[in-house]
């Protein structure tokens, strides 16, 4: 059987997120409860979490979360990055042995920063260094896979139901200002940990529910821009698109949303001249980054979160606010479970991004 | 609601009704008709006699024509017009009018001939009644003498032929159809029909003696049934006595107005503007009556309509010989014969004045239109126009506009 990444693997999913607008940190326990409610949207073949603000003491360092699936991999990996990075520290990611999670690879994390001469060589800054390293490692070092590479954030994922994955990684012992979760329902069973979601690159993480019809158009565009799609998943390509638009092209998340889930021409043609020019520009210039077909995504980024539905609203996504807390989930029930009474609650409209940022900017 | 009174119940009246209604939808129209019948087509009497059509079909717009048009029909003879009071007296009753049309038509001309009173079965051939009476006699059989070889006489002969081959047509003129044809054409018609009809031409009638007609030459013709077809005379009396301008017919202008206010006239009774000779003329033709009446009607209803394209014309078919003519036979004559057919075109200063066609008349209307419009024939050759003609002879612009629907020729 082909492994994840060797073929395109459509999947149905459950997604969920909890965010604190003040940036106050809270335990990862509640996100587990929330995603657990949507168990039947997953099928035990993948679950995971993206947690922001969990490494306050090392918040200026890049936290690499890495799977090693073969013995030699770890040695090759450490040899490789010690060449380009100052390694602050590294450790096994603590896990709780439970019967539901089996066949675990070696799972480690490294807190690192690019060496100055590497930064000078790359010229476009430390993020670009990490960007290159992630692709180099994931494509060139057999058995090693970096699945989280941001600062003061981390992705935890595995093959299994999300709530089990949460307990496996002891999320209850982490505190952060944003947690996103994903339960996967792939339409076959490669059972590879790297294939689970969230998918992340640098500070970006994406959980996604849906199957996009524009996939190959997006993928080929991204590959032209130097992204290597190794997983052939929607989540992966959407992550790259967001990275490309925000980090490389300097669009805001709202502008990026206008590219990914662009307004219809019929609406654009009714806009004011200035608006029309802007919208037309974005659609024309970034036509290859338009994403069609059903999706609802929750994007985690350094200091905020964005929820977005496809332009036709072919997937559901509920959002609720209670005090400083914001809750997002594929199903309202998943919110009510952890927040029985909220101040307000609504559903994301097609193509209308919902963005929350930590008050006073970055954490 | 305007009151319109129309005296007479034939084609001019029909035209007037159409004209009035086209301009005044809720007109109050009264027709005073001395001939006690609904509207019918007089030219059909010969065809009815000939059994080419039926008595019913002579009411060519249906016996209920007046009802359909919402017109009051009063079958009474108008005796007097009081222009001051604007009323008409007919058989004792008064009929007030706002606008009046006099379309009294004409009557067959019967000259005082010695011994006429001694003739048993004598007829004229003008109205439906004339036809019915003649038919009644014909059905009893007998030899027929028709005096007058004009159109009426000849058409009558065609009808009579259904009943007997024993027909004599006499006329003091040297040829049949003296008025409607040229000498050449008349001669041809005579030659074509002589096998069918016993013509007595240049024959001035002297007197009758019972069933015997005696001519100036001393020649005698016996007969059982006599038809006098010596032409017709306009019935101008009603207007003459109240001082209307009258010549042989009532004089009207292009709007068909008489010189008396609110009184119009049309049909056989008038002398109206004739476009070829550009003079007032007694035409006594079916289309002239209809269009004259229509013009009168429109003007009576307050429109401004002028009848400027009236010309002499005639189309008939005598014993299978088709005779079609229009305009005046004046100016330079061009003749052609095509097989059996004789055709002549009369032009003056590059404009067609008239034509006559014996036989095939296909698309003759195009020649008629040249006459009516005084359209120069330009470099078209008269002979070719006679040989055959179609829309291509008109100037290209005119043709294109017409076919493209921008205007009507």
């Amino acid at each position: 059987m082909l492994l994840e990444g060797e073929f395109r693997n459509p999947a149905g999913c459950a997604i969920s997120a909890i965010f604190d607008k003040t940036g106050a940190r809270f335990s990862g326990e509640s996100i587990i409860d929330s995603i657990a409610v949507m168990r039947d949207r997953s099928n035990g073949l993948g679950g995971g979490f993206a947690c922001y603000g969990i490494y306050p003491d090392k918040k200026d360092l890049y936290a690499f979360h890495v799977f090693f699936t073969i013995h030699s991999a770890r040695k090759d990996f450490e040899e490789y990055i010690s060449r380009y990075y100052e390694i602050d520290s590294s450790e096994d990611i603590p896990t709780r042995k439970i019967p539901e999670i089996v066949d675990e690879p070696e799972i480690r994390r490294y807190f690192v920063y690019p060496k100055q001469k590497y930064i000078d060589f790359v010229k476009t800054g430390p993020d670009e260094c990490v960007f290159r390293t992630v692709f180099a490692v994931n494509t060139e070092i057999k058995g090693a896979y970096i699945f989280s590479s941001g600062k003061n954030m981390g992705i935890f994922k595995a093959v299994g139901f999300p709530e089990d994955v949460g307990r496996f990684y002891m999320l209850d012992s982490y505190e952060g200002y944003l947690f996103t979760a994903h339960g996967r329902y792939p339409t076959n069973t490669p059972g590879w940990w790297g294939g689970a979601h969230p998918f992340g690159l640098l500070g970006l993480s994406v959980v996604h529910n849906g199957e996009i019809s524009s996939y190959d158009a997006n993928r080929r565009a991204m590959e032209m821009y130097g992204y290597k799609c190794t997983l052939l998943t929607d989540t992966e390509v959407i992550t790259y698109i967001l990275d490309y638009l925000t980090r490389k092209k300097g669009l805001t998340f709202t502008e990026s949303a206008e590219v990914i889930a662009a307004p219809f021409w019929s609406r654009i043609d009714r806009m004011s001249e200035e608006e029309k020019a802007r919208a037309t520009y974005l659609r024309d210039v970034f036509s290859a980054e338009l994403v069609t077909g059903p999706f609802s995504i929750i994007v985690g980024f350094d200091g905020g979160v964005m929820a977005l539905n496809d332009r036709l609203k072919l997937r559901t996504l509920a959002v609720a606010e209670k005090g400083d807390k914001v809750y997002m989930a594929s199903e309202e029930a998943a919110i009510r479970r952890v927040c029985p009474s909220f101040d307000k609650m609504f559903y994301a409209e097609g193509g209308k991004p919902i963005v929350y940022r930590v008050k006073g900017g970055k954490q | 609601m305007k009151k319109y009174v129309l005296i007479g119940g034939s084609i001019a009246t029909e035209g007037a009704i159409e004209g009035i209604l086209s301009a005044d939808k809720n007109a109050d129209i009264t027709v005073l008709c001395g001939e006690k019948r609904p509207l019918y087509s007089r030219p059909l009497i010969s065809y009815a006699l000939e059994k080419k059509t039926t008595d019913e079909k002579m009411y060519f717009h249906g016996e209920d024509y007046y009802e359909k048009k919402g017109v009051k029909a009063v079958y009474a003879v108008a005796e007097k017009i009081d222009p001051a009071e604007k009323v008409i007296i007919a058989e004792g009753k008064e009929y007030p009018y706002d606008e009046l049309l006099v379309a009294t038509g004409s009557k067959p001309f019967v000259p005082p001939i010695k011994g006429l009173e001694s003739v048993g079965k004598k007829h004229t051939f003008y109205t439906m009644d004339d036809m019915l009476e003649l038919r009644a006699d014909l059905e009893k059989g007998g030899k027929v003498l028709i005096v007058g070889a004009g159109l009426i006489g000849m058409k009558c002969a065609e009808g009579v032929k259904e009943y007997t081959d024993d027909i004599v047509i006499a006329d003091m003129a040297p040829r049949p159809l003296p008025a409607a044809t040229t000498p050449e054409a008349g001669a041809i018609v005579q030659e074509r029909l002589s096998s069918i009809i016993d013509f007595r031409l240049n024959a001035a009638l002297d007197h009758f003696d019972g069933n015997k007609a005696v001519f100036g030459s001393g020649e005698e013709v016996t007969f059982d049934i006599l038809v006098l077809a010596l032409g017709v005379r306009p019935q101008v009396g009603l207007l003459k006595e109240i001082g209307a301008e009258v010549n042989r017919g009532i004089i009207v202008n292009e709007k068909m107005q008489t010189n008396l206010p609110h009184i119009y006239a049309a049909g056989d009774v008038v002398e109206s503007y004739e476009a070829v000779g550009e003079s007032k003329r007694l035409l006594q033709l079916f289309p002239s009556a209809y269009l004259g009446g229509k013009t009168a009607g429109k003007n009576m209803a307050g429109e401004d309509s002028r009848f400027l394209t009236d010309i002499p014309m005639n189309a008939t078919n005598l014993f299978g010989v088709r005779i079609t003519s229009a305009g005046l036979f004046v100016g330079e004559k061009t003749e052609v014969t095509v097989g059996e057919d004789y055709r002549a075109l009369y032009t003056e200063g590059g404009v067609i004045k008239g034509f006559i066609l014996i036989g095939d008349s296909a698309r003759a209307g195009i020649l008629t239109d040249f006459i009516r419009k005084k359209r120069p024939i330009g470099d078209l050759c008269a002979k070719e126009l006679l040989a055959g003609r179609d829309l291509s002879v008109y100037p290209a612009e005119e043709r294109r506009a017409a076919l493209g629907g921008k205007y009507e020729i």
Binding site: S213, R219, K249, Y281, D284, V285, S287 | -
Partner: protein, 501 residues
């Protein structure tokens, strides 16, 4: 000399149906039919028939059919009849064989070996009757960096581009090779549809300047009809390097067709042959092309996109890469099945490569070099249906050019004798009595109908794939699968075989 050849077609007349109306006789410019007074019958001379089907279509009683002549030379798998026939012609005439329209030979048609995907369960198909289904396309270069003004607003000024309501344009067909009425119809249809038509190298008739907003003006090696107003009138300017039907050689419009307005429009004397040289004599290499591109941009103040049209040849990808760096905004590639008014038969039938493969490699090459955004890709060379359009877009084209299809919509039956100049359909002719047969009112309506129908079909297919905007289809090769293609073909096309996940 006796003619060793036999008539290729046979006119079959059903005399039970023929009513001697003589419409066929009046409609045949090749004088195939005539009425034989003596017999009171219509007689046909099959030898003159080119199988244009005009008489068949107009016969009120459908009494006519044209069939291939069954007369056969002795069968020979190697010496096929076609080769003998051609040799006889040349032995008789001593001339280069000419033919028209696209390559008719049985080379593989890759579009017919590619199948399109549709959604099931995991994501929904979209009903174009209920949901928006967008086919609007912009052609032109894309900016590399986003400019922002003082307040951080995006500066929305873009390089010159073309806006299409659907990804189809009428390809270059010169006034001269086709008739005034054909041009009129194409121009009107382009305007009504919100797309573009292309003057070809015949110049632009003064009557058609009013369609400038929908006109692409061509500059070819002959430079016929090129002048200031001409360049300024076009919505875009196309430099024609090559043509799919005859890569590597020039054009030749016989003097017979250079009459009246044609000669005026081309700015050459009546009756003189219009010979376009094989190369542009100011372009002997890629840097020369760059200079022409920029001199045209200078001349038109950088207001109009410049298209460079090439024929699909073996190293098309490398050539395209060169053009993408030459300042051109759009590259048009014409496959070996592209049509022509006249081409040497040998060239038409043996030179060039299929557009599907050319597109596959060009799109991929430009992406590998990260210069795909420098240009838009327009492909031509036998786009026959909306399915071909969808497949071309999926393979990576931004839009397609249709030539033959548009002529067919106007009545062309591909008899492939345009070069005779006696087109019975009034398309490829300058004979006034024949030109008149193409009423632009009707022809334009037929073009509009065809493309309206195609657009509906494109939307249906997009909807089936769950795609509601044409951008998401462009280069979306995963939506295609090959059938009966070998590894190499699949690799060049960049698609998987049917059955592969």
């Amino acid at each position: 000399m006796i003619d060793y050849n036999v008539a290729p077609f046979e006119v079959v007349r059903d005399y039970d149906k023929c009513v001697n109306c003589r419409v066929c006789e009046r409609q045949c410019s090749n004088e195939v039919h005539h009425y034989e007074e003596g017999f009171g019958k219509m007689i046909s001379d099959s030898a003159k028939c080119v199988d244009c089907q005009r008489c068949v279509c107009l016969c009120p009683t459908k009494a006519l059919k044209i069939v291939p002549n069954q007369n056969a030379f002795r069968p020979n798998a190697n010496w096929q009849q076609k080769y003998l026939t051609e040799i006889y012609k040349q032995a008789e005439s001593g001339g280069v064989l000419l033919s028209s329209m696209g390559n008719p030979e049985p080379f593989p048609v890759y579009f017919d070996k590619i199948l399109i995907n549709a959604s099931q369960v995991t994501n929904p198909s979209i009903d174009p009757l209920r949901e928006p289904m967008e086919t609007r396309v912009f052609l032109g270069a894309k900016p590399q960096t986003i400019e922002r003004d003082a307040e951080g607003k995006i500066v929305t000024k873009l390089p010159p581009r073309l806006k299409l309501s659907m990804p189809v344009m009428f390809s270059a067909m010169s006034y001269g090779s086709i008739s005034y009425n054909a041009h009129a119809a194409l121009a009107r249809a382009a305007e009504a549809l919100g797309i573009y038509y292309n003057t070809g190298e015949g110049g632009l008739h003064k009557d058609f300047y009013k369609y400038s907003a929908n006109t692409i003006v061509q500059v070819a090696s002959g430079r016929f009809g090129v002048h200031k107003d001409y360049l300024e009138d076009g919505a875009a300017i196309e430099i024609k390097i090559g043509q799919g039907a005859k890569p590597g050689i020039g054009g030749h419009l016989p003097g017979a067709k250079i009459v009246g307005d044609v000669s005026k429009t081309r700015m050459i004397p009546e009756g003189s042959d219009a010979v376009s040289p094989a190369p542009h004599h100011d372009i002997y290499s890629i840097e020369d092309l760059r200079q022409l591109v920029y001199s045209i941009k200078e001349a038109t103040e950088y207001k109009k996109p410049v298209i460079v049209k090439i024929a699909a040849v073996h190293n098309v990808a490398a050539i395209a890469s060169g053009i993408a760096r030459s300042g051109a905004d759009i590259i048009a590639i014409d496959g070996f099945r592209g049509g022509t008014g006249a081409a040497p038969t040998r060239i038409r039938d043996n030179v060039g490569i299929p557009i599907e493969l050319a597109l596959g490699s060009v799109d991929e090459r430009l992406r590998e070099e990260n210069i795909r955004d420098n240009v838009s890709l327009v492909v031509a060379g036998s786009i026959r249906s909306s399915a071909d359009v969808v497949k071309a877009i999926c393979l990576g084209a931004d839009a397609v050019y249709i030539g033959s299809a548009s002529l067919v919509a106007m009545g062309c039956h591909l008899c492939r004798t345009c070069n005779y100049g006696k087109c019975n359909w009034g398309i490829a002719t300058q004979r006034p009595d024949l030109v008149k047969r193409l009423n632009p009112d009707i022809a334009a309506e037929r073009l509009i109908n065809m493309l309206t129908a195609w657009n509906h079909e494109i939307q249906e297919m997009m909807g089936g794939m769950g795609i509601n905007s044409i951008e998401a289809l462009r280069g979306n090769r995963l939506m295609l699968r090959g059938v009966g293609l070998n590894e190499r073909e699949l690799a060049v096309l960049g698609i998987k075989h049917a059955g592969e996940v």
